[in-house]
Amino acid sequence: MLYAILCYNKEDFVGSWTKEEDDACMERLMRVNDKLARNGQLGPVARLLPTTAATTLRKGGSDPLVIDGPFAETKEQLLGFYLIDFPDLDAAIETARELAEANPGPGCYEIRPVGYFTEGALQLEEAGQKSDA
C-alpha cells in the first residue's frame, strides 16, 4: 500500500531556526530517508518553500480566481498533489487553470515552489501498486 506522509508545522517557528539548527534537522531526517531508500520503499520527497511564496487558484465560476498566499481554508481537505517543472509562475498558474477546467466545481489549487526534492528509490512495478494507487 502506498502512503503519503504530509508534514505540518508552524512555518515562523521553523523559519526562526538558525542555519545550523536547520541543517541538523535535515541531517536527522536524511537518516530516516536513507534507511527507507535502501529498502526501496522511499518515493519522492519534497520540502516546500514558505507559504509567502505561494499563490492559490480558487476554482468555481468561469474564470478561476488567483489569490496571493497559501490555501487557508479548514473546510476543505488535501486530496492530492502534483509535482511539475515550470519555467515560471505564470506557466504553473496556466496548468492549474487546465486542471480546474478538467475538474470543475469547488476547491483550490495551491501553487508552491519546492526547496528540496529527491525522487527516491521506489520501484512500483515490482510492488504491483501502480494500478491500485
Partner: protein
C-alpha cells in the same frame, strides 16, 4: 519537547506578535519588554513539563499581560491604593486572546512595533540596532558584535534611541489605510537597511554581520505574511533573497570582491533563487510596479541566466530606465551604464556617466565603473587615475583589493605592450 533549542525557536518566532500586543496594552516599550521577558521565564519553566502550548504567542501575551499588570500594580501600591475594577476582566482574557489571534488583529501590532524603531530622528544605525533588539530580540551583546562596538557602548546607544522613541508620539489607534501604507513604506526601508548591514559586510565582519541578512529576510517574510497581497513587500523579499543567494560566491578565498559576471553560479543558493523568482512572478501579476519590485526584477534577470553571457542586458537596461523614473538618482544611472556598456559598448556607457561626475565625485563605485570603462577603451592613464580615486574612497578592504587587481592588470598590460607593438611593427 524538553530540547531547549526548540523552546528558543518558539520564543523568538512568537516575539514580534507578543511584544507588539503587550505594547498595545501597556503603551510603554520598557514595560512591554519586561512583561515579555517574564513570560519567557515562565515558559522556560512551564513548557518542558507541560509541552508546547497550541499557540505560543497567545500564551506569552496572556502570561506577559498578567505579569505586567502585577508589576504596574506593585508600583502603584507604593503610591496609592490599587484599582481592582480596572483589572477585573482578566478571567476571560485567555480565551479572548486565543480567539483573537488572527492576521488582522496582530498585523497592526507587529507593524507598530517595527514602525516605532523607524523614528525619523534616529540615524540609520540606531534604527537597525533598535529593530534588532526589540523586534528580533537579539541580545545587546549580539548586536554590539555585529556593529563592532563594545557591549556598553551598544547598551548606551539603544537606551538613548529608546528614550528618543518614548518621547515621540506613535498612535495606538488602529491605523487607517493611508497611515498603514506610510508605516509599511518606512518599515520596508528599515528591513532593507538591516539586510544591507549584513550583506555589505566582508572578511572578518561577514561572520559577525552575516546573520543580519538572514534576519532581514525573516522580518520581510513576517511582513508579507501579514500583508500577503502587497506587491512591493513581495518585491522586497524577492530582492533580499535573490541578492543573498549570491553570497556564497561574492568573495574569493582572499576576501576580494568577485564581480557578478565572474561569480561561480553553481555556488548560488538555488533555494533562495526559487523562492525569490516565485515572489517576483507573483508581484508582477499585480501590475503595480515599485522600486523594490523593479530591483528584484533586475536581480531575477541575473538569477535566470545560467551563464553570465546569457544575461538579458536589454531587459535589464529597460528595467533601470523604469527604476530611474521611480527614483531619479545618479547611482541608478550609473548602474544602467553597466547595462549600456554590454549593449552598446564602453564609449556609450562612458558618455552616460561623465555628466554624473559632479554628483558622484565622492562615490567609490563611480570611479570604479569609470576606470573599468576607460580600461576597456584602452585609455590606461585615465583608467589608472580613476582606479586610484576609487581606492581612496573604498568602503572596505575587499573593495580596495578588487580595484588593486585592475591596477595590477593595467601595469602588466603596460609592461607587455611595447613588445607587442614592436613585434607587429
Amino acid at each position: 519537547m524538553t530540547d531547549p533549542a526548540w523552546i528558543d525557536a518558539a520564543l523568538s518566532s512568537a516575539r514580534p506578535q507578543a511584544v507588539g500586543a503587550l505594547l498595545r496594552y501597556f503603551r510603554d516599550l520598557d514595560l512591554a519588554e519586561e512583561a515579555f521577558q517574564e513570560a519567557c521565564l515562565r515558559a522556560l519553566k512551564n513548557w518542558p513539563k507541560n509541552g508546547p502550548p497550541r499557540d505560543p504567542a497567545a500564551w506569552l501575551i496572556f502570561v506577559g499581560r498578567n505579569s505586567g499588570i502585577d508589576a504596574v500594580r506593585k508600583k502603584s501600591r507604593e503610591q496609592a491604593l490599587p484599582d481592582e475594577d480596572q483589572l477585573s476582566d482578566l478571567d476571560d482574557a485567555e480565551t479572548r486572546v486565543v480567539e483573537g489571534i488572527d492576521n488582522a488583529d496582530y498585523r497592526d501590532d507587529v507593524l507598530r512595533l517595527m514602525f516605532i524603531c523607524c523614528h525619523p530622528d534616529l540615524p540609520d544605525t540606531q534604527q537597525i540596532a533598535l529593530a534588532l533588539r526589540i523586534v528580533s530580540g537579539l541580545s545587546v551583546r549580539q548586536i554590539a558584535r555585529a556593529f563592532l562596538v563594545s557591549e556598553s557602548a551598544m547598551e548606551q546607544r539603544i537606551t538613548r534611541a529608546k528614550a528618543r522613541v518614548a518621547k515621540g508620539s506613535v498612535s495606538f489607534e488602529t491605523p487607517d489605510a493611508i497611515a498603514r501604507s506610510e508605516r509599511l513604506a518606512v518599515v520596508m526601508a528599515m528591513v532593507y537597511l538591516v539586510f544591507n548591514e549584513g550583506y555589505s559586510a566582508s572578511g572578518d565582519e561577514a561572520s559577525a554581520r552575516g546573520p543580519l541578512a538572514d534576519e532581514a529576510i525573516r522580518l520581510g517574510r513576517l511582513l508579507l505574511r501579514m500583508f500577503p497581497s502587497e506587491p512591493e513587500i513581495m518585491g522586497l523579499v524577492a530582492l533580499l533573497l535573490l541578492q543573498h543567494s549570491r553570497s556564497p560566491a561574492r568573495f574569493d578565498a582572499d576576501g576580494s570582491v568577485v564581480l557578478l559576471e565572474d561569480q561561480d553560479r553553481a555556488r548560488w543558493n538555488r533555494k533562495m533563487i526559487a523562492e525569490g523568482l516565485a515572489l517576483i512572478d507573483k508581484a508582477v501579476r499585480h501590475r503595480v510596479p515599485g522600486p523594490y519590485q523593479i530591483q528584484a526584477a533586475i536581480a531575477a534577470m541575473h538569477a535566470r541566466a545560467k551563464h553570465a553571457d546569457e544575461t538579458d542586458w536589454a531587459a535589464i537596461e529597460l528595467l533601470y530606465q523604469t527604476l530611474e523614473i521611480h527614483i531619479p538618482s545618479p547611482v541608478i544611472t550609473l548602474n544602467r551604464a553597466v547595462a549600456v556598456s554590454k549593449l552598446k559598448g564602453s564609449e556609450a556607457a562612458l558618455e552616460l556617466i561623465l555628466p554624473l561626475a559632479d554628483k558622484l565625485d565622492s562615490y567609490f563605485h563611480f570611479h570604479g565603473v569609470r576606470g573599468a570603462l576607460l580600461m576597456q577603451l584602452e585609455r590606461p592613464d585615465e583608467a589608472r587615475e580613476a582606479f586610484n580615486r576609487a581606492i581612496a574612497l573604498a568602503n572596505s578592504p575587499a573593495e580596495a583589493a578588487h580595484i588593486r587587481l585592475h591596477l595590477d592588470r593595467l601595469a602588466k598590460d603596460n609592461a607587455v605592450k611595447p613588445r607587442a607593438v614592436s613585434g607587429t611593427g
